[in-house]
Each structure stands twice: as structure tokens, then as C-alpha cells.
Amino acid sequence: MWKYILKRLGLAVVTVFIIITLTFFSMNAIPGGPFEKEKAPDPAVRAVLEERFHLNKPVGVQFLYYIADLFQGDFGISLKTGRDIMQTLTESFAVSARLGGVAALSALVVGLVLGSIAALRRNGVFDRVIIFFTTLFVSVPSFVLATILLLTFCLKLNWFQVWSATGQQNYFLPILALALYPMSYITRLTKSSMLDVLGQDYIRTARSKGVAESKVIYKHALRNALIPVITYMGPMVAYILTGSLVVETVFTIGGLGSKFVTGITNRDYPMIMATTIFLAVLMVIATLISDLIYKLVDPKISFD
């Protein structure tokens, strides 16, 4: 077990390092520097600035400085706004984390409940309705879903106010737009693994011993059916984080996702770098945790 944890941790560290390296060197490969503007600064000023930001050093040394800064939580400053990126990141991530957290949690709970019901009432009306809608929702890209939700419920039906930073802040629609895809996926996953488990011998044994049906489902079936769902936790976090890029942009929520998209449209390279690294590290951590939990709940699985 410890060996596995160490191995998995090692892979995560290597991945994070590769992400940082890739981000740094690819951003460095973009032609053009900070001083190639129409108003070139005085050579003396330029020398001081280069010294201060280590731009006169070779790229390798600059990379080491960048990593050292990262470890101190210093992502540099935005080219567009001139603000400290770390501050922007933490502020906007607070918004995104709330949005994404609620979306992930509701996707998980609703998905598990619907999936179990669909499995227990197999081929019933309810099962068919659930499967119809989940098949539909896994085929709708998040940006289409978000824009259509905005159009129908905010603009046409006026059920919800359009999101604004100061006034109305209703999270219902953005959460729905983020959660529907993972929810549908978890529903399908739960249904198939539940059906798998319900056909096992130990379920029949439990039933023949006269164990109450609710106990069979909660204690025996659901617990084992959960295992495939756990492996989906990592991809789900990745989906919600990248989905937040479009959902926040569509609903004009000032979270991390919309900051990233603004950075991309403005070609604000330090901002793009910082957000990429930040989101990538979050995703790697999420995958690591879901892998470790997977291993913990099911010791039968070997990874070699």
C-alpha cells in the first residue's frame, strides 16, 4: 500500500513538474519580448529592468527563478491589469470553488440516487425516462447548455435575474449547467455497476438469508457499486474546472474560468501561465486523491 502511495505521489510530482516546464518553455517560445514596443525604454532603464526580472540571464536560469518564485506563491503580475496574479487567482478561485464544489456534490448525490433507482426499477417507465435524458445530456456541450439555459430561463421566461457582481447572484443556473453532464455520466455509471452487483452471488445469499431489502441495497449493493464511481471523481473535477471556463464566461461570473478566458483573448501570457499551472495542479491532485481512495476501498485491485 505504502509503495503504491509513494509511486502514485512520484508520478504526480513528475506530472506537475512537466506541466510547469511545458508551460514555461512554450510561453518563452512565443516571439516578442516586453521591450519590443513602439516606445522602447532608455537602455539604462532597460538594463535595470532586465536585471530586476532576470531577463539578462540564460533561459535555464530564468526557469529556476520562475520555479523558486512559484514555490513562494509568486505568479508575477498581469500584463493587462498590472495586478498581482496570485491575488487575482485566490480571489476568483473562491468564487469558482463554491460554484464547482456545489456542482460536483449535487452531481454526485443526484447521479447516485437516480442511477440506483434506474437499476432497481429496471425497464420501468422511470428507468427509461432517466436513460433518455442522461443520454441526451452527455451529448450536449457545456457551452451550448449554458447559453440555452441563460436564454430560456433568464431572458425569455425571466425566472432568474442575469448574474451581476453587485446585485443578484443566483448560482442555480450556472450550477445546473456545470452539473448536468457529470450527473448524467454518474447516473449511467451507477446504473450499470449496480446492475452488475445485483447479479452477484453474495446478493442472492444475503436475500436468501432474509436480510431486509433496504439493508441489501445500502450495505451490500450500493457500497460495491460505488467503486467505479470513485474512479470518475478525478475526471469529474477536471471536467468541472474546464467547464467553468465557458459557464462562467456565459453567465459573466468573475471566477477563475472567466479570468482564464479573458487572459486568452487578451493574450495576457503571465496570466495564462499562472492559471494553467494552477488548474493543472488542482486536476492532478484530484486524480491522485480519487486513485488513492479507489485503492483504499478496494484492496483487491492491483496496479502492476
Binding site: L11, A12, V14, T15, I18, I19, L22, T23, S26, M27, A29, I30, P31, G32, T135, L136, V138, S139, V140, P141, S142, F143, V144, T147, I148, L150, L151, L155, K156, L189, S192, S193, P228, A238, T242, L245, V246, T249, V250, V261, I264, T265, R267, Y269, I272, T276, L279, A280, M283, V284, T287
Partner: protein, 357 residues
């Protein structure tokens, strides 16, 4: 009756069968039994199963209709995807943001004068361009991106997985470690990063070549697919090859002195082709998803060229006044992805039920 057929009297608790209760088969029954099924191949069997699945057939029909539309519509509709509508050689500036199936003032005058004007099935956009043809071209771009990207993934994954699986040993270990690392990179973020970086790098390289029209973003999308998305295909191929490699016929081929490349090509790959085929089909909607996502956040195809994602993005301006501009590309994306998903599920059930999760 012979002596042998005489069976001792059945004991009360004995499990012995009572032969007297059986009767000989009639000639007709014998005939039925000896009748052979028509010879069938694996492929024919699978197709038969596929065509019994109404969802798969339905999505196949939808996809076929779509392909027919995007191939033939540009020949029939007399508008271009980047041209303003003209009436009698004059640019028609009144044809801005028209709802579906309506004519502008200039066009109505022309019709009154007895001219025939092709209707704007989906209306027009803010730059007086026919919206139907733009959606058609958008679907064209999205579908071909999906197909090409999946082909790239298939090629790289097939070669890499075959080498890794067949050679085995330390080579396999090293190759699979590389796959592990690429697999753990967050792919969509890397796509965004590389698209941002490759845009200025490629701009000069492809200027004044035939590639310029596709735009740097599309090329970087293909590069990224070639760099990152092949890993799951490589894993799949490797797994298949590892299990097939152990078969006796591979051993026999080796004993006869066949070269590794020949063994892989002639004996191993044909046996895992269905699995590979299905996962390629399932890769297509994935690629279309990625392309439309990138187009939506402004990293997609070059400006006049539409894609379904960039059309949906453009429709966000004036969403309240012209909602149909969102609805058409959105429905097109959903239909394409849904059809591919259902078809992929159908293929999987028909050709390899074991794959079903």
C-alpha cells in the same frame, strides 16, 4: 427389443432415465437438425446485430442525411459562407439579422420584378451573410476535424501500441511510462496552452501557403491531438496485442520464420480490429466536443471560416433579439454528437459486448 435395451426396473429414488418415455425423432425433425446455417463472417454477424438496433440505425440515418446536406447544400444554395448577400450585383445592406425564411426590402423588390431568389432558410447574420450556408460550412468543419483528429489518434496509437505490446520487456516499460505521464496531463488545458503558443509561432510559417485558410488554430488542434490524445488508443492496442500474442497461431507464424512486422500486420491486428474500430468511432464526438469548445473560447478556426462552436459563440451577442442564431448551430452540434455516441454504443454492443461497461 434386444436384451441390451431392457433396462432394469427403476428404483424409487434412482436418478436413472426412463428410456421408454423417449420416442425416436421423425424424419422432419432430423431434417431440421441437419440444416446448416448460411455461412457468416464476424463482420456480417456484427452488421446484422447493428441493423437490429433501432437507435443505431436512426443515428446512422441522421449522420447520412447530415453528410448529404453538407456535401450537396453548397452546390444548391447560391450563397457563399463569407459573402454578403447581393441583389442584382449590389450589396444588400438591408439584409442584416433577418429571421428565417424572410426576404429583405431589396430582395422583395427584385421578387416583385419577377426575379427568383433563393430563400434564406436560417435567415442572415449581422454581416448580411446567409446563415444556413454558414451553419452547413460550420458542420463541415466540425465533422472533418472530428474525423481527421480521430484518424491521427488511430495511426499514432496503433503504431505505438503495437510496438510496445509486441516488443515487450524493457522497451514496453519505458514506452508505457511515457504514456502514463502524458495520460496524467490535463488534456484540455494543454490544448489551450499549445493553441495559444502555436498561434504566433505558426502564423509566419504558413503565410501564403494553402494552409493559411485553415488557420493556425486548426493546425495546432491537430498537432495537439497528435501529441496528447493517442495515449488511450495506444494503451488499448497494447492490451489487445498482449493477449493475442500468446495464441498458438502467432507461435506457429514465428516458428515458420515470419518477421515481427508481418506477424503484427497479418496475424495480430486483424484480430483486434473491431475493438480499435469502435474506439475510433467513439473518439470522433470527443474531438468534435474539443473543437467546438476551443472555437467557443476563441481558439478555433480562422475568422471568416465558421465552425459550429464559433457560430454559437458569435450568437451570444444579441442573444435576446436573435435566439435562432444560437439554436441552429447548437442543435447541429448536439445532433452530431448524440448520433455518434449512439452509433458508437450500437457498434460496441454489436461487435464486442464484452467492452460494455
Amino acid at each position: 427389443m434386444n436384451e441390451i435395451d431392457q433396462i432394469p426396473k427403476k428404483h424409487l429414488l434412482s436418478l436413472q432415465l426412463d428410456v421408454s418415455k423417449f420416442e425416436p425423432a421423425s424424419a422432419e425433425e432430423k431434417e431440421q437438425h441437419s440444416q446448416m446455417r448460411e455461412p457468416s463472417t464476424f463482420f456480417k454477424d456484427g452488421m446484422k446485430k447493428l441493423f437490429k438496433n433501432p437507435l443505431a440505425v436512426g443515428s446512422l440515418i441522421v449522420l447520412l442525411l447530415m453528410v448529404i446536406t453538407i456535401v450537396f447544400a453548397p452546390m444548391i444554395v447560391p450563397y457563399g459562407y463569407e459573402e454578403m448577400i447581393t441583389v442584382g450585383g449590389v450589396r444588400d445592406k438591408t439584409a442584416k439579422n433577418m429571421p428565417p425564411m424572410q426576404f429583405s426590402e431589396l430582395e422583395q423588390q427584385a421578387i416583385a420584378n419577377g426575379e427568383e431568389i433563393f430563400p434564406h432558410i436560417f435567415g442572415t447574420d449581422a454581416l448580411c451573410r446567409d446563415y444556413f450556408i454558414r451553419v452547413v460550412y460550420g458542420a463541415r468543419v466540425s465533422l472533418s476535424v472530428g474525423l481527421f483528429a480521430s484518424l491521427i489518434v488511430l495511426m499514432i496509437g496503433l503504431v505505438y501500441g503495437s510496438v510496445s505490446g509486441y516488443v515487450g520487456g524493457r522497451t514496453d516499460l519505458v514506452m508505457m511510462r511515457i504514456v502514463d505521464i502524458i495520460y496524467s496531463l490535463p488534456d484540455l488545458l494543454m490544448v489551450i496552452l499549445l493553441s495559444v503558443v502555436l498561434d504566433p509561432l505558426l502564423k509566419d510559417a504558413i503565410a501564403h501557403t494553402s494552409l493559411e485558410k485553415i488557420g493556425t488554430n486548426m493546425i495546432s488542434l491537430f498537432i495537439v491531438f497528435g501529441l496528447l490524445y493517442w495515449v488511450s488508443m495506444a494503451r488499448l492496442v497494447r492490451g489487445q496485442i498482449l493477449s493475442i500474442k500468446k495464441n498458438e497461431y502467432v507461435l506457429a507464424a514465428r516458428a515458420l520464420g515470419a518477421k515481427p512486422v508481418r506477424i503484427v500486420k497479418k496475424h495480430v491486428l486483424p484480430n483486434c480490429i473491431s475493438v480499435i474500430f469502435i474506439s475510433t468511432a467513439l473518439q470522433i464526438p470527443n474531438a468534435i466536443f474539443t473543437e467546438s469548445f476551443l472555437s467557443f473560447i476563441g481558439l478555433g478556426v480562422q475568422a471568416p471560416m465558421p465552425s459550429l462552436g464559433s457560430l454559437a459563440n458569435a450568437a451570444r451577442q444579441g442573444l435576446e433579439s436573435y435566439p435562432y442564431k444560437l439554436v441552429f448551430p447548437a442543435v447541429a452540434i448536439c445532433l452530431i454528437v448524440l448520433a455518434f455516441n449512439l452509433l458508437g454504443d450500437g457498434l460496441r454492443d454489436a461487435f464486442d459486448p464484452k467492452l460494455r461497461k
